[in-house]
């Protein structure tokens, strides 16, 4: 499960990241019937999804984003590392089509398409376009970003 913020600009994104960095998440798990452990986690993955804005009917101008929406939501519920945080950045068509858009040019993102999901602060790997609507690809992406510790 995860917590989700929704923003509309780089500035808001940076603020949201700052906020996530300043909170802890309390996770309880019940590995067996009689046990119940709780721990506070300060360091959890922050995933950023860059997507297209929705109109008054809740439909995005970006068809791939439309397709990805329900799948990403499902993935957040059932596949995302526990705990983790998500921030969706909504860009208008004009903003995204502009070759100078900050999410294209800024070295922290260097996006070439939307929707894109990445794990802050890593520019790579990126889950892009049709991959965002593919539940198996999303599962692999989480596994690639947050590998289980070996040995």
């Amino acid at each position: 499960m995860a917590v989700h913020q929704y923003v509309n600009s780089l500035q808001e994104l940076e603020a949201a990241i700052e906020q996530f960095k300043n909170i802890s998440m309390q996770v309880s798990s019940t590995p067996s019937r009689n046990e119940n452990t709780e721990h506070l986690i300060n360091d959890f993955p922050i995933f950023i999804i860059v997507s297209g804005t929705k109109d008054e009917n809740g439909v995005s101008w970006c068809p791939d984003c439309e397709k990805a929406d329900p799948v990403l939501e499902e993935a957040e519920q059932s596949l995302a590392p526990e705990p983790s945080a998500f921030i969706t950045v909504y860009l208008t068509r004009e903003e995204w089509k502009n070759p100078k858009n900050v999410f294209r040019t800024d070295g922290r993102f260097r996006l070439t398409s939307i929707p894109t999901m990445l794990k802050w602060p890593n520019r790579e790997p990126k889950l892009v376009e049709a991959q965002c609507a593919d539940i198996d690809a999303i599962k692999e992406f989480f596994d690639e970003c947050c590998p289980q510790d070996q040995d």
Partner: protein, 530 residues
Amino acid sequence: MSVLKICTKSFAASLGRQSERSVKKIYRISSSFRTFSTEGKLEYDLVVIGGGSGGLACAKEAVAQGARVAVLDYVQPSPRSTKWGLGGTCVNVGCIPKKLMHHASLLGEAIEDARSFGWRIPGNAEIDWLAMRDAVQDHIKSVNWVTRVSLRDNKIEYVNGRGRLADANTVVATLHNMKEVLLKTKNVVVAVGARPKYSTAIGAQELGISSDDIFSLEKPPGKTLVVGGGYIGLECAGFLNGFGYPSTVMLRSVPLRGFDQQMASMVVNEMEGRGVNFICKCVPESLSKTPDRRILVKWNTTPGANGGSGQGEDVFDTVLFAVGRKAVTDSLALEKAGVETHKETGKIFTTNEQTNVPNIFAVGDVLHRKPELTPVAVQAGRLLARRMFGNDKTLMDYDNVATTVFTPLEYGFVGLSEEESEKRHGPENLEVYHAFYKPTEFPIPQKDMSNCYIKVICLRREPRTVLGMHFVGPNAGEVIQGFSAAMKCRITMEQLLDTIGIHPTVAEEFTRLTITKRSGMDPNPQACCS
């Protein structure tokens, strides 16, 4: 089941309207997101152990031929705990980061050269090691991901686990959580490659690093000792020196052993001219920590060697061991199937990539006495898959494989060294054409051209087949690639000299050769265009 609660009050207050809902809710999560099936045994036509250049090429071709394939990949952390993702040595700790760092290093030189061409460049260019490293690592991560997606798109099962044989038709994969998966398979391809060796000097493993670590090093390497004069050692010392880190190379015997020694000496001369310090015919004896957290290295003359730099000691920030690579076959339990390997190197004996066990094959660096190069592993893997599952009977040709050493001034070659040519044919049956040359762009920035040299070895009798082509100079890889196609066509000296060059390039020098070693004439250039 897990329950997630957000416990910071201020967080809830500061979030936007939409998020408030998610904060207040308590979510129930269904069980584990890792759904890899560990139940039962899975049947495959082919299981490939090793997700590097050879393994992946073989797997993809096998699938294209209709086989059901699984690929196992696993990275044993280095002694410094360095790990990496899917793709093998080339992508993660070999060719790719090496070429990128070599390029980054040359760019620093280009910035300086630019001034003499009229560019006004304020200040001095300095490398930011972490920024360079991050750029390189980002690229590697994108390749890791693309590789992973590609496996999925090709419907190849990817198992991130350590593989070993239970018998000739069963591979056991041990996953990160120590769970074991049994894969039943008709065929096995071992493509596990190799890992760096360390010297036996005291403190080597504890204080030294290897090529496994240099490309993701968390802090600037500083003053570095590279132990080893093979291409890995020379390439690393080369780019580190180019970045401005004082670099020393310690050679046990000769540089680039097994390569054409005249060309190797050109490469070393160039590196010395650029400030790399060479300690010759020595081996390290001990490494120890100094009070200010640096490394004191003590060395002595290589046992049995004459001359050389002699005993000595010095303090370094980093010691990089590039003393050879060992095949990763120890933990494969190859004996469970009876696969024969070389006692010392661990490499696998094969004929046309088949081991002594008919359904077990091997490709890549793990092969005994085959070139350790990505394109070789890729081609061998591909052809093997076609022979296994398709109708193609083409065998891998390991001869005349072009290669390049990416030292500051690069060395590219295809075919035989002068030493090997003499051994096979006798010096009286050879003609060696050679020349020093002046790249057009070098004089203006006053770059040293004294090591810009080419050599072509051919048979003396008709047809004068070219046996080897050697080039030290800029962009050697690009220069030599086309000539390897010519070698495959058994190009003769007449055909080579009949070829008209592109002007002005450095590659055209191969078409302008006139002077032979036998003539004793001066191989230095007289004038351009004459």
